[in-house]
């Protein structure tokens, strides 16, 4: 279970999160949506302890991770897998070394067993036989899928996805959505997907949280949120720019 209580986060004088609270049950899959730059990635990084809030608590299975130091956090993070917005693959390593990283570091397996698990998980993300490639040789979509393979190989209980489908063509996006569902059902993981792609949110979220103006603005089942009459939600879902900005915001101004 993931629970955030009254999170406040500032960078210099910019407040990114202000009194953000939510709760995600075990095995649940939640989509966090919101406009670009509203602090979704920052929120996700708080859940796994990469960033610390200025105020508030993050509870993972009832344990507050905010006061923990980096070494204590390492233990908590073994339950987590995270897929980064920009994939964040280790560019000095091959695909296989990237994917096998956590196994090599934290588990004592034979080389053959490691190779077998790498092959299996690469198969799962539809990239069989890419073991010896370099991350630089891969396309954006392939990199995201390698990032996903790296995050799920050690079978974590919670997987966090930061914009897994942004910037990919609809077909690859679709296959990644299915992959997220497959990982969820196959490994029974708690899934948190940050996205501004409505299709992804609709498909993988059993519940949708919408961030707006430093807060969780709306929360509920996808149907509820997507059909909400709230103007802020409507504007985001329908994808129209600010009415004021669009009438006055021409090049001359």
């Amino acid at each position: 279970m993931i629970e955030a209580r009254h999170l406040l986060k500032r960078f210099d004088d910019q407040t990114v999160l202000d009194d953000v609270s939510f709760r995600i049950e075990n095995g649940e899959s939640v989509a966090i949506i919101g406009r670009s730059g509203c602090g979704k990635s920052v929120l996700l990084k708080h859940v796994i302890g990469l960033l610390k809030p200025d105020r508030g608590e993050v509870l993972i299975d009832g344990e507050n991770i905010v006061p923990m130091d980096e070494r204590q956090l390492l233990r908590v993070r073994r339950n987590f897998g995270m897929v980064f917005q920009g994939a964040a693959l280790f560019d000095s390593m091959s695909v296989a070394e990237n994917v096998a990283f956590a196994l090599r570091r934290n588990e004592n397996l034979t080389e053959a067993e490691t190779a077998r698990r790498v092959a299996r998980v690469l198969e799962m993300v539809d990239l069989p036989g890419t073991e010896d490639k370099n991350p630089a040789e891969l396309s954006g979509g392939m990199r995201k899928r390698v990032g996903l393979a790296r995050a799920i190989i050690y079978e974590p209980q919670i997987v966090l996805y930061d914009e897994p489908t942004t910037g990919l063509d609809p077909i690859v996006s679709d296959s990644i959505d299915h992959l997220i569902l497959r990982v969820r059902d196959h490994l029974k993981v708690t899934t948190v997907v940050v996205t501004h792609d409505m299709r992804t949110a609709r498909r993988v979220g059993q519940r949708v949280l919408m961030m707006h103006d430093r807060k969780i603005h709306a929360s509920g089942a996808p149907e509820e949120v997507f059909n909400s009459p709230d103007p802020v939600v409507r504007q985001f879902i329908d994808g129209v720019a600010d009415p004021e900005k669009s009438t006055h915001g021409n090049i001359a101004s």
Partner: protein, 259 residues
Amino acid sequence: MNLSVKQTLAAWLAGLGQITLLAREAAAALLTFKVAWRNLIYQVYFVGVKSQTVVLITGAFTGMVLAAQTYFQFHKVKMDTATLAVVGVSMCSELGPVLTALMVTGRVGAAIAAEIGTMRVTEQIDALRTLATHPVDYLVVPRVLAGLIALPLLTAESISLGIAGGYGVGVGLYGIDPVYSWAHMLKYTGDTDLSIGLIKALIFGGILTLVGCYKGMTCGVGAEGVGKATTEAVVAASITILISDFFLTLGLERLLNAL
């Protein structure tokens, strides 16, 4: 003006404090053997083997020019055979360790800062952390350890080549008496001088790798941040090496003579 001096000083002190904390963290990791051994071997190769050319050329030519300059002065007062003694003492206790460290800083300190800085701006360090790996264990410890192992060895090489070069210039070029000057050199270059040099090399190896790691880990955003971190690593490490060299000279002299 006054304010900016104060700020610079404060920032410098804060940086030193952070580096000390980093060193403590690295030492703690080392004591629990949480070291990435494969990385260590690669780093020793990178710091040690790949610095050979630079260090050997520096050592040899420093020894040669030092012998020539000393000979010019000593020849006037008919002390030709003391030339190699000067070369030996200076190479062992000062020029060997300091010049080696400065050359390696330019190569390795810069590379470390650039590599770790790039990893930071592309979120690879965050990725490490999510994979339950402490960046200090995985990135800092192998590099610092490699610096501690490689620098004394590189310095020893540089000292040897410096003395050999000095001998070549003195005996070969200016025809000073080989037997006397060799005996003088052995007489005046004590174990203390060599120990001072190697201890300094060890400390400089720690400084240049730690500063490189620190600048990389605290690098700013984007390509500009990485570039700045690289420059700062070289400047900060060089200055720290030169300043600490002075205090090390005074301190080690006392310590080793007291023993």
